[in-house]
């Protein structure tokens, strides 16, 4: 019995290999077909990769959108729960759940402290009984007067003045220019409106006249003067002088009014003093607010 070595057996097996050469035409055709298939396969792989990339981006985008929606919803829910705006059953459930984790959320039966909303601007309290709103349009008339021609100015009786102070009828005294009165001050050329005039009248100043006033810079908007002295918030008609002992009380002063107040910084148009007029609020005789001088009530000037 002969022994067969492993090497000889391997050599005999290798000798069994049969080379079967392919036909050239078949080989060429097969090679061309395989080439086309390989190119098509590579193209498909590229398309699939692009498709996968787009899918990946879409998934990431969807997750982002869903995440934002979730975060927003959670924030809104927490906000509603914290302010107790959920319906009662839901609020109770949420309150119990948050109570477990140590977050204090009001339940439906808890009173949520309401913070009062204060207005930014204080509105004055106006008592309808004590306040009379005068609606008289202040008149400022400057009439050019020729120096050579004597000026005779006659102001008609003003029946339209209906200013009332505390419901009293105001007398209609006749006043002269420069005197205390409610008549429009008509000053002849060269005249000087003396201080202290009750400046409740519109000033008619001729050229050359000097309207003397404590507050010359203020606009000369003067209405028929009334002086009002009242502790209550006052609404002063044009030309009125309101005396207010309480500084903190708001006051509404119409243009041309003068308010008796320690606060000197009255806005232009509120002084109520026209040139030739004077704030006469301290004068007891004039009885602020009851001066009795009807605005515009003027008797014919003797001059």
């Amino acid at each position: 019995m002969s022994r067969i070595s492993r090497r000889s057996l391997t050599a005999r097996l290798e000798a069994l290999r049969v080379e079967t050469p392919l036909d050239d035409a078949f080989a060429d055709d097969l090679a061309a077909r395989l080439q086309s298939l390989a190119i098509a396969a590579s193209f498909e792989v590229g398309v699939k990769k692009g498709r996968l990339r787009r899918k990946f981006v879409a998934v990431i985008g969807s997750v982002g959108v869903i995440g934002w929606i979730g975060v927003t919803g959670a924030a809104a829910s927490v906000g509603l729960a914290a302010t107790g705006n959920f319906p009662a059953p839901i609020q109770d459930v949420v309150s119990n759940v948050f109570d477990v984790v140590g977050i204090d959320v009001p339940a439906s039966d808890d009173d949520v402290e309401q913070v009062p909303v204060e207005p930014d601007v204080e509105s004055p309290a106006i008592d309808d009984e004590d306040v009379t709103i005068e609606t008289t349009v202040p008149i400022e008339t400057t009439v050019p007067i020729d120096e050579d021609v004597p000026v005779e100015t006659t102001l008609p009786d003003d029946d339209t003045d209906s200013l009332e102070a505390d419901g009293e009828d105001t007398p209609t005294p006749s006043t002269r220019p420069g005197s205390s009165g409610n008549t429009p001050a008509v000053t002849a050329p060269g005249q000087v409106g003396s201080p202290g005039n009750s400046g409740n009248t519109p000033a008619v100043t001729a050229p050359g006249q000097v309207g003397k006033d404590d507050e010359e810079d203020k606009p000369s908007v003067t209405a028929p003067g009334q002086t009002k002295n009242d502790d209550k918030p006052s609404v002063t008609a044009p030309g009125q002088v309101g005396k207010d002992d309480e500084e903190d009380k708001p006051s509404v002063t119409a243009p041309g009014q003068t308010k008796k107040d320690d606060d000197e910084s009255s806005s232009p148009g509120q002084s109520g003093s026209a040139p030739g007029q004077a704030n006469k609020s301290d004068d007891e005789s004039s009885n602020p607010g009851k001066s009795g001088d009807a605005p515009g009530r003027t008797k014919k000037n003797e001059d």
Binding site: V18, A31, R33, A41
Partner: protein, 181 residues
């Protein structure tokens, strides 16, 4: 004329020279492999196997050793499938019936070593495929295992036992011949 071995990237790119080399390199081997294991249409096996490689070459990863294993694994699968279909159908094909058997075709008539072919016929089919791929086609043990679909260790053990058994068969046959002579 021998064609210089192209790279796998050339095959993926669709280089005609690369694919021509591929057909020459594996076409005849797959055809011989199919013919030796009794497939009635070895060229059809070759064509379908190489087409399958071309369709998957874009996603293929590895070198030439892996490509060789890949080719023979596909060829092996196709041959085995065709053999199973043939036995399941219980159908006698005229062409197949007219074809000589595996032993008489490649390993009996055309082979110059009928004793070895006869000894191989006594092996199980899977071991026969292993021995053929490992020693006839020259694949490594790892490549053979990959082509057969077994683990490398199992393939190595099976090959060792198969070689021992084959040697025993050959020795016994030679002793019988000596006795008869």
């Amino acid at each position: 004329m021998a064609i210089r071995r192209p790279s796998i990237a050339d095959l993926k790119r669709g280089d005609p020279r690369a694919w021509r080399w591929f057909v020459n390199e594996f076409g005849s081997a797959v055809t011989g492999y199919a013919r030796k294991f009794g497939h009635p249409d070895p060229e059809e096996v070759t064509g379908s196997t190489l087409e399958a490689i071309a369709r998957r070459i874009a996603t293929f990863e590895g070198g030439h050793a892996e490509l060789r294993s890949f080719v023979f694994s596909i060829a092996h699968a196709r041959i085995v499938d065709d053999v199973r279909k043939r036995s399941r159908r219980q159908q006698v094909d005229v062409d197949w019936a007219s074809q000589p058997s595996l032993e008489t075709t490649d390993m009996g008539i055309e082979s110059s070593d009928p004793d070895l072919v006869a000894a191989l016929d006594q092996m199980p089919d899977e071991l026969k495929h292993m021995l053929h791929l490992r020693y006839v086609e020259g694949l490594s043990t790892k490549e053979t295992a990959r082509a057969i679909g077994k683990s490398e260790v199992a393939t190595r053990v099976a090959l060792s036992r198969g070689m021992a058994k084959l040697r025993a068969v050959l020795e016994s046959s030679s002793s019988h011949e000596e006795v008869e002579s």
